[in-house]
Symmetry: none
Subunit: 196 residues, 4 copies
Amino acid sequence: MERRLTERGEQRRTQLVEFATRRFAENGYHPTSVAEIVEGIGVGKGVFYWYFPSKEQLFREILRDAQRDLRKRQQQAIEGLDLPIDRIEQGIRESMRWSAENRHLFVLFQFATSEERFAPAMRKGEEVAVADAARHVKDAMADGEIPDGDPMLQAHAMLGVASHLARVFIHEQGRSGDEIADAAVEFCLRGILGGA
Amino acid sequence: MERRLTERGEQRRTQLVEFATRRFAENGYHPTSVAEIVEGIGVGKGVFYWYFPSKEQLFREILRDAQRDLRKRQQQAIEGLDLPIDRIEQGIRESMRWSAENRHLFVLFQFATSEERFAPAMRKGEEVAVADAARHVKDAMADGEIPDGDPMLQAHAMLGVASHLARVFIHEQGRSGDEIADAAVEFCLRGILGGA
Amino acid sequence: MERRLTERGEQRRTQLVEFATRRFAENGYHPTSVAEIVEGIGVGKGVFYWYFPSKEQLFREILRDAQRDLRKRQQQAIEGLDLPIDRIEQGIRESMRWSAENRHLFVLFQFATSEERFAPAMRKGEEVAVADAARHVKDAMADGEIPDGDPMLQAHAMLGVASHLARVFIHEQGRSGDEIADAAVEFCLRGILGGA
Amino acid sequence: MERRLTERGEQRRTQLVEFATRRFAENGYHPTSVAEIVEGIGVGKGVFYWYFPSKEQLFREILRDAQRDLRKRQQQAIEGLDLPIDRIEQGIRESMRWSAENRHLFVLFQFATSEERFAPAMRKGEEVAVADAARHVKDAMADGEIPDGDPMLQAHAMLGVASHLARVFIHEQGRSGDEIADAAVEFCLRGILGGA
DNA sequence: AATGAATGAGCGTTCATTCAT
DNA sequence: GATGAATGAACGCTCATTCAT
């Protein structure tokens, strides 16, 4: 049952979500205890269970909201672009920008994908995001801009490039997001354009 | 202190490693308890600690051995190939074959990369493997086979493609490893060859 | 992190300290398990760790509080006595009275002194108490009441007499505290007065 | 059943006793595991149980042998001394020499006295040793050398002085055994001689 | 005499969750 | 809305002891 919260309640809830997200990402989901979260923001244990039915549900909510946010950001980024290729490029750039800005959520995605319990939810969200990209690939094929192929496969390949480069070069090595995005775009467009 | 094991001990140890690996991959590292592992193979709890100093050390050992195995397999696969491009192609194919055959280790890698505690070890291993590939990319550039660029970056991009496609299409959708490897190779070679 | 306790919490804490002290003294520190303590007062295991960070910390707290209590009692006992010799005598008497009343703490002191882990804390507390007595010995020497000598050494000798006699005759043989205190005082005063 | 041991077996046994004694004294009886002992001398676990029925029995044996050794040493030290007072003095000196040389056994005595399980054995041994000293005190009284009093009580007082000074000044502060023995003897003889 | 392997109860501790106030 | 207190199963790990070889 959705609880109707006062403004103060809404703030508390947000505070809990944000603090928990950071701790989950830094420490891992399992090693982060509810006690640690509530102590971190200086409230009693009951508070946590006033806002969330369980630690697991909070985590699922974080995951779901993050996936939604990423998708919305990508949609906004390509809005108004006419050429499929442009949409693909901006989609890649936006996803890398998002990864750079939400490093901790990125780490959470990685963990969630690895654990059976959360993997199905992750798969579903990923599939939706990739389907968006695949549509643009398909359009580009229809327009004759790129050679025919399996659009889902190509979209996934691009996602693989973008997320891996973001992790290694942006998160781990701290290099500039734009620079790495340029490289990712170049690699991906070549990958789908082929010798054309 | 290295313990000298009898043949029976060696077998028990292997049994423990294998069973634990499977459980870690299926259930997650944290949710899998030592009790679950020893019950699974029908021995007392002390047996685990006779062979391993801790659950964490066993996990690190699994990780380290898996990374070594993958690297060795790749090296064997490209042995004797003269052209850098061929080495790159076979490297990709071998890594996907390995992923297909060691699905559970693949999942473990994903988890380990996501948790601060294990991430450094993973990074180091990954860096070694990628450096191998980067050398071939560099050679290909020197030979004028592919346009100049950052070899480490391109090697990582290829790793991103290969691992992501393996996860989604081979592990999750159960498609043929060879077919997906073809697609990965095609995408990657285009990615580095560019308009050439 | 200091926890703020309600009155009920304070009571529970005291209950735990008292019960644990008794069990430690009767059974030994190591042989007494946390489970035994919480079962003894009929609460869940978590309760123990709500009030104390560890079994060891609880033990240290018991030790520290006991040393403080003994010292305070001695200070109160000699308050207002002008002659150093009187202070020494009353100090001995009070320490034996305390030993008689706190037999279990006495045993804990003995154990703690014997184990490397707790010995440093014990030494420190003992040194403080002995320094008090040594000051009176020094004063008596300055007054010419007793022959010169090493005050710390003599104070320790008196502590040796008092604690040993308390253990053997009061605790083990159950003889009257006053009677033994008389003997201890007599022996000690002769010891420091010498042929005077 | 007493096992008849070969010479090599006898050596092994002694090695185990000595190593265990040191570990018990340094680390505590409970915190020292059988595994630690056998690993420390590089043998398998079975060896321990070949020579001793249990860890506890080994400890009791160490205690018993130490008490016997101390007593024998004291008896040898006073052999041939005619005056009771001399016997008392040399008894004190010998016990402090023994304490200085067997610091670890001294610590073990202290622990054993504090734990219900071993305390009765300790008490018995102590009583025997003190009775020896008390006899000399009695003799001295009979000879009119010292004023009348309770010999057992005075003997215990002297033991208290000697053992406490040994612990604090010889073991903890590392001062010279002879110097401290002088002080102990002086204090004790005054204590029993009184104003005489 | 000695080994390496195994046992399994028990340890100190943690933690998601519940609840009275 | 929020607190401090409590629960108790489960955790990773230890250890005295036993046993087949």
